[in-house]
Amino acid sequence: MKEFLRFLSRCIRITFIGDWRYQLWMLLLTVLALLGLNAYCKQLVYGLVETGMSDHVSWGLYIANFTFFVGIAAAVVMLVIFVYVYRDDKLHDLVIFGELFAVAVIVMCLLFVTVDLGRPDRFHHLLLRFNFPISMLTWDVIGLNGYLLLNLYVSTYLIYCAYRKREPRKALFVIPFVLITIVWAISIQLVEAFLYVGLSARPFWNNAIIAPRLLASAFAAGPAIIILTLQVIDRFTSHHVPGRAMLMLRQVVIVAMTLSIFLLISELFTEFYAGTAHISSTRYLYFGLHGYDGLVPWIWSAIALNVFALVILYLPIARNPQVLSFACILLIVGVWIEKGMGLVIPAFIPTPLGEIVEYTPTINEVLVCIGIWAFGLLVYTAFVRVAIPVLSGRLTYDQPFASAFSEIPHAQSSHTSAREKLP
């Protein structure tokens, strides 16, 4: 136990150490996170009027981001499946990076829900009267926190074993939890979809295809983000990521994105060919309604980005890391718009009484989101900062703390450098 506490304190210390690029990157993230905090404090004092939301469009950017990131966090299982189900042990370290990533993303998700609450001071009411299993939101709370703990546990255990130079006891302490993680990840996606699908008041959501669509696009965007982070790790740290891993993830992205576009087409056909009265929201999203068309440019650029990215990914040049990253960025932006602007907001337009009020986020709201993104990246950078020297055997319990940097004079840039240019 004492050893573990010492480990934690060393972890914290090491996150403050790095060369100037690392320092600058962390400083930048901290400043952005504080700006977000400042914006949030304003919202706390003056209320949610500080956002663009209204009684008409009562969920906005916060919930959109939340939905997107839940999918991203869940998609980390793709890595886990490769390593543990297909027994590709060489990629073992990648699972740790993936799980740390999931932890950082879930922290972001929890922050996004919290900033969306009108009364965050009453958070404890969730513990006192929990409307389980009736309210889907309670499933979500359990799902996300459980997923957070699972990933935190598995990654900490593996890293700590490396720190203590012990062989992890996989059969007992890792594999069972990893298997749970796989099922859990898919369930949080499903619960996320049920959150929307279950509302008969909103025909746009009340549609069985939402769940598979969410799953498909998450399993495209999630691995795409992981490809990007792995490339950054490969480029800016001493850790080498095998190219094979990227290509494998590329396959996942291709399959998931193809499926996603296929589902989109079948949904659009059903809605528009039948042309029932229920498609006002869909029509608003794709073509505009009664002269209101705020989302139209967004959704079409999202579709264009997704299709374009998919075409690039199918081509052989996508084996080139730069091209691969480029396609991934397009795809992530595309899915972000589609899952955010495209899934959450149109359901509120028109309102159940047929009124059309559009939604534009305010600067303050955007600042809060940027703050949360920055905080998530800060957390992830710190995790990676700890994980790399431990996994490479430079930071272990039997060596003095400073020895983790003993190579610094000659290898500074590659060991402790900044991880800039994250997505």
């Binding site: 150490i17 901290t30 504080l34 958070f123 009411h125 939101l137 509302l199 940097f405």
Partner: protein
């Protein structure tokens, strides 16, 4: 979050000996970080902030409505009484009014009568102490072209010198007090529930403001306090400093019209502080044409029961499966039921509530 940083490239074997320079630098960065943190928290020190807005221990410990003992409730009511008096300068008569046995409230609205004057909308705001700036309204009157009941064709913000318009009819919508309320199902903290008399209520001190219920309501009946409620605009207060006191309705109950706070949900409660004490809802009393009927559906002799039996009533969005307790009907020219006496404008619905 502070960025102590440093200069650790010199953290070699001589790490223990911190140089003066690196000490100053670390200190400087720590102070800078702390200052940045404090600066970003600055909005919290706003002088306009009411102490009540940030919560108190008492409020933090207050239980859920259904778990409160009589003493707990008395304490909560006393706190609210004092809060209201401190903030608005008026001592309210606030009670916790329980539902009556053998009563289930139902509303019916005669669309042939309604002239779209919106008197009910404003009477409701005055009765239920909604925020005036911005104004929160529970009732939305839809102006519909004759020949359709497709609400997507309704006009919400019609503004005519004279109502009604010849080519339109008017359809007021408010909370339908559904028998199977989706809003109740989705609430993660059970801050909203259906009472035995059919009224869906909200514990304003329990709601966490997630707005899931607002997304779930098919009748767009819920309203959220995006701002701290204000009972008069700045200009109005400048003209008449007592206006808040004059506008506030002191007849309050815990589950209905006591002043809300920012960040919580609210909605129509069929004026339960009136109707549970035998009065009619404010919107009904003010209606100049007697389009609104209200009463206890469990009493077979009540007007409302007779309307449900004899009129061709319908509900809005039946397909949503919510089984509303709010019915609409049109007058029939040649009623086969012979219950025309119900429609005499003077017969202001049931006395049986």
């Amino acid at each position: 979050m502070t960025q102590h940083s440093a200069d650790n490239t010199d953290a070699g074997p001589h790490h223990a000996k911190m140089t003066r320079r690196s000490f100053l630098r670390r200190g400087g960065v720590a102070v800078g970080g702390a200052a940045a943190l404090v600066a970003s928290l600055k909005p919290l020190m706003d002088p306009e902030l009411d102490p009540g807005d940030l919560g108190s221990i008492q409020r933090f410990l207050q239980k859920h409505y259904k778990e409160m003992s009589t003493e707990d409730m008395d304490a909560a009511l006393a706190r609210i009484r004092n809060d209201v008096e401190r903030r608005y300068g008026l001592r309210p008569d606030i009670r916790d009014i329980k539902p009556m046995d053998g009563v289930e409230f139902v509303f019916a609205l005669n669309l042939s009568r309604c002239i779209g004057c919106r008197k009910c909308v404003h009477a409701c705001v005055a009765e239920n102490n909604q925020s005036r700036d911005p104004e929160i309204q529970y009732i939305r009157v839809l102006e519909m072209p004759k020949g359709t009941i497709d609400i997507e064709r309704a006009s919400h913000h019609y503004d005519r010198p004279k109502v009604p318009s010849e080519d339109h009819f008017y359809m007021p919508v408010q909370c339908h007090q559904c028998t199977r309320p989706p809003c109740v199902k989705v609430c993660p903290v059970e801050a909203t529930w259906q009472e035995p008399d059919g009224i869906t209520v909200i514990d304003y001190d329990w709601c966490i403001g997630c707005r899931y219920c607002e997304a779930a309501c098919p009748y767009w009946a819920r309203r959220f306090n995006f701002t701290p409620p204000r009972f008069a605009s700045d200009e109005q207060i400048a003209q008449n400093p007592d206006i808040v006191k004059e506008q506030l309705n002191p007849d309050m109950s815990y589950l209905s019209n006591r002043p809300r706070e920012k960040g919580v949900m609210e909605k129509c409660t069929f004026c339960l502080h009136r109707t549970r004490e035998g009065k009619m809802p404010a919107c009904l009393e003010v209606c100049p044409v007697g389009a609104r009927k209200f009463g206890n559906v469990l009493n077979p002799d009540s007007d409302i029961s007779r309307i449900l039996r004899n009129k061709r009533v319908f509900v809005l969005k039946e397909e949503a499966g919510t089984l509303p307790r709010f019915f609409y009907y049109f007058d029939e020219r040649r009623s086969r039921s012979g219950s025309d006496e119900l429609d005499a404008p003077a017969a202001q619905s049931g006395e049986d509530a």
